[in-house]
């Protein structure tokens, strides 16, 4: 890799930066990519570029009268100053609040928020005292989100990791295209929840709407209440002791453990009757440590 400082890179155009970093464009062929990397040499727990924040350094600011861009920029500026606990006041249903935070942080939002709240995050712990709109936590990678009241539809769409928790009820298509992580709903969830789920786990302490787990490829859904109907290729499976242990730990952790325990939960998985791979996928590139 060419030796270029970050300061120099920032002065360049995007094309110039790519060239300076030795990057080229080429037709994807699926060939192996060899990367030299010593796993014993690394002792880092956060991304190299992430701001070093202190959870004990706390601040708060008022969102009233500000645009989403201004609020999200302010969060990043405060993180650069080392603030590890940030409280947002008066969000007033603002959309896309806290989107794209990619390192550790305690973010507390006092009030209710709109569409796409804290989507695309990777690391922070978020607590929202009110309600959230559609697509809360969409594409979340890691961290925790805790919503004290209800959430809209497509809750945790395409989530890839982390814990996304709603104490209340959520709308339809919860966890659509879920690829990992955990979604926990204290109340009920709407129709088509777990649609095209691929990995991860969903826990619904209340009732689930119709077509639960429709066309799920893999992953697991646990439901404590009634299931209106199962979707195509979703089937009930045996609740194992390890499942119960995991459920108990997760629900206790978030204060959602039902009085009657977890033995009554129904486990839903993919029936795998519709699994079909008729065409070869392009070879996956491989990284060699």
């Amino acid at each position: 890799m060419a030796s270029v400082s970050d300061a120099e890179l920032k002065k360049m155009t995007q094309d110039e930066r790519a060239k300076a970093l030795g990057m080229t464009t080429e037709q994807l062929t699926g060939k192996s990519l060899y990367v030299e990397f010593d796993p014993d040499a690394e002792e880092r727990f956060t991304y190299p570029w992430a701001p070093d924040v202190d959870f004990n350094k706390r601040t708060e600011f008022d969102c009233d009268g500000k645009t989403t861009t201004e609020v999200n920029s302010q969060i990043r500026e405060l993180m650069r100053e080392g603030y590890g606990t940030i409280v947002l006041k008066n969000p007033r249903g603002m959309h896309s609040l806290g989107v794209g935070i990619l390192s550790r942080l305690n973010l507390i939002i006092e009030g209710s928020t709109g569409y796409f709240t804290v989507g695309l995050i990777d690391g922070p712990n978020v607590r929202i005292t009110g309600r959230v709109g559609w697509s809360c936590g969409e594409n979340m990678m890691s961290g925790t989100i805790m919503i004290e009241k209800n959430a809209g539809s497509t809750f945790g769409a395409a989530i890839r990791g982390g814990d996304l928790v709603c104490r209340g009820s959520v709308g339809s298509r919860t966890g659509i295209d879920q690829k990992g992580g955990t979604i926990i709903v204290g109340g009920d969830t709407g129709a088509l929840s777990g649609f095209m789920m691929q990995r991860g786990r969903m826990v619904v302490c209340g009732n689930a709407g119709k077509n639960l787990g429709d066309s799920m490829y893999d992953g697991t859904i646990f439901v404590g209440g009634e299931i209106k109907s199962l979707g195509v290729d979703a089937v009930e499976a045996e609740l194992t002791d390890l499942d119960k242990k995991w459920l108990t730990r997760k629900l206790t952790q978030y204060g959602l453990m039902p009085d009657k325990g977890v033995d009554h939960f129904t486990k839903v998985v993919a029936g795998k009757q519709l699994w079909n791979y008729d065409n070869l996928e392009p070879s996956e590139k491989k990284l060699i440590l």
Binding site: Q14, R17, A18, L21, G22, M23, L33, V35, F37, P39, E42, R44, F45, T46, Y47, P48, W49, L102, R104, N106, N125, M141, S142, G143, T144, G161, D163, K179, G180, G181, T182, R199, G200, R201, S215, D218, G219, T220, A237, L242, D243, K245, R249, K250, Q253, V269, K272, Q273, L274, W275, N276, Y277, D278, N279, L280, E284, K285, K286, L287, L289
Partner: protein, 137 residues
Amino acid sequence: MAGTQYRGSEITDVDQFLKDADGLASEREKEIGQHIGYRYDVNLVPDYDRITPFLEKYIETMGWDDLNWLEDVHMGYEEGMPAVFDRNNNGWVRVPDTIDLPDNQQDRDMIARELLIKFQMSDRHPLVNLRKAYMKF
């Protein structure tokens, strides 16, 4: 969606894909030349009694109460070599052959989680250059 039944092979041994690099057990897998689906049980949840000291420190640093997104990370196998899937560059990262594999999947999964963290947080991760080049965040 086409297809009428699950046509992948069942995983019966922790070393199944080390002993048999192709691991193509079912007729359908042999026909298309690749294994169907992930090479582990996606429903297997982590046994926290087997957590490594590195992962304990990682959880504490991040301010989480558990393994969080790493719960879904398992050790898989590619061409007879142990490997862990890196979601950020959509590729398999092979585990060095200098690392001895324990004889159970839970311990192997913990090693996979630890290696994945070390790799994703390193300066050598492929996305480090991408970030610098495109400056999206």
